[in-house]
Symmetry: C2
Subunit: 204 residues, 2 copies
């Protein structure tokens, strides 16, 4: 038992899991830290060290059962279930998220999408009916939803974050290009394509 596994290790587990799922799709059953590391550009030692924080998942001389390791990483990351999420903002980005097929089989599902514009509330995005932002807190509480995604303009994002927290959300994925303040018990991740692009232009 260990209550202090480094955040950076947790951050790599989803990467391992994604590659393992791909290997499984390729019909593979066994891999090794060396092979997985080569495919990901990560050292074999690091992969073994990371995994050893949680248990012993391999066999000396053989390697890892892909299925067994996937199952265990899913359990560690708590994606051995399906998490319902809400999307706030039904513009281009919010709509793309709501319709995204890639959540399936990876532990997530969009439950509701919200907007504040009366002109689009009640209309459909994919199979979802756009809900009134004013009913966000109520719907979050009623459905015990713990994950919210923010896809509104920057100037509206903090207000949305506050409402998500008020509704009981404790994990937020923010697509708005702005830093948010949330209570320390709420997890927060950012997706801002410009940040990623600027990390590359330095090297061009």
């Amino acid at each position: 038992m260990n209550g202090s596994i480094p955040n950076i290790v947790i951050g790599r587990l989803p990467i391992y899991l994604r590659e393992l799922q791909r290997m499984a799709e390729e019909g593979r059953h066994i891999t090794s830290s060396l092979e997985l590391g080569e495919r990901l550009g990560i050292s074999a030692a690091q992969i073994r060290k990371d995994l050893s924080q949680f248990g012993e998942f391999g066999k000396q001389g053989t390697g890892y059962s892909i299925e067994f390791l996937m199952d265990n990483i899913c359990k560690i990351l708590k994606v051995d279930r399906v998490w319902d999420m809400v999307v706030v903002g039904a513009g281009d980005i919010g709509s793309a998220i709501a319709r995204y097929q890639g959540f399936t089989n990876r532990g997530f599902r969009v439950g509701y999408i919200f907007d504040i514009d009366p002109k689009i509330i009640g209309t459909k995005v994919g199979e979802f009916i756009i809900q009134d932002f004013n009913s966000l807190v109520e719907i979050l509480r009623k459905n015990h939803i713990k994950i919210g995604m923010i896809a509104v303009p920057g100037w509206a994002a903090q207000e949305v974050a506050d409402r998500l927290v008020e509704g009981g959300v404790s994990a937020i994925l923010n697509y708005a290009p702005i830093n948010l303040n949330v209570p320390s018990n709420v997890r927060l991740q950012y997706i801002d394509p410009v940040i990623h692009l600027q990390r590359m232009t330095y090297y061009l």
Copy 2:
């Protein structure tokens, strides 16, 4: 002069820049490492250390001129210009990227969007006419475009990456949920919402 600035430092500069731009929008002119750090949840010492890798941008006793610091970070990151980009894949995500207003004033512009589906080639996404994927390499070369964004299904992403590289692209932002292999002189960044979500569910 220093040819070996840590990658992790480069990774923070866009975060600093984004917050500085926000301060500027608020009408602010001066800040300090302490204030910037508090707004970002980063220690003041780290901000000063990071910036000192590139020069002396502050004044003792006063702090940093927001505009001056922004200008300098823009130069360091080479976003004191506008980079033309291509988007490959005109589905929900590709279309949302092509129409995204957030690139403006941050150093980037979408120039072209491509798809391989004959049914949508020639139709419009926002103000862009969807181009034939088969003309990607030619258009990249003709326009000397260095940045590509991949918004196609996972199974098609490696082929798209190969074509981008063939056309001379040296920075790729990949929205497909798959690891890509590119030559070592090509920079690569990933955006996969599921990876970010799985980094949070561990803590829920």
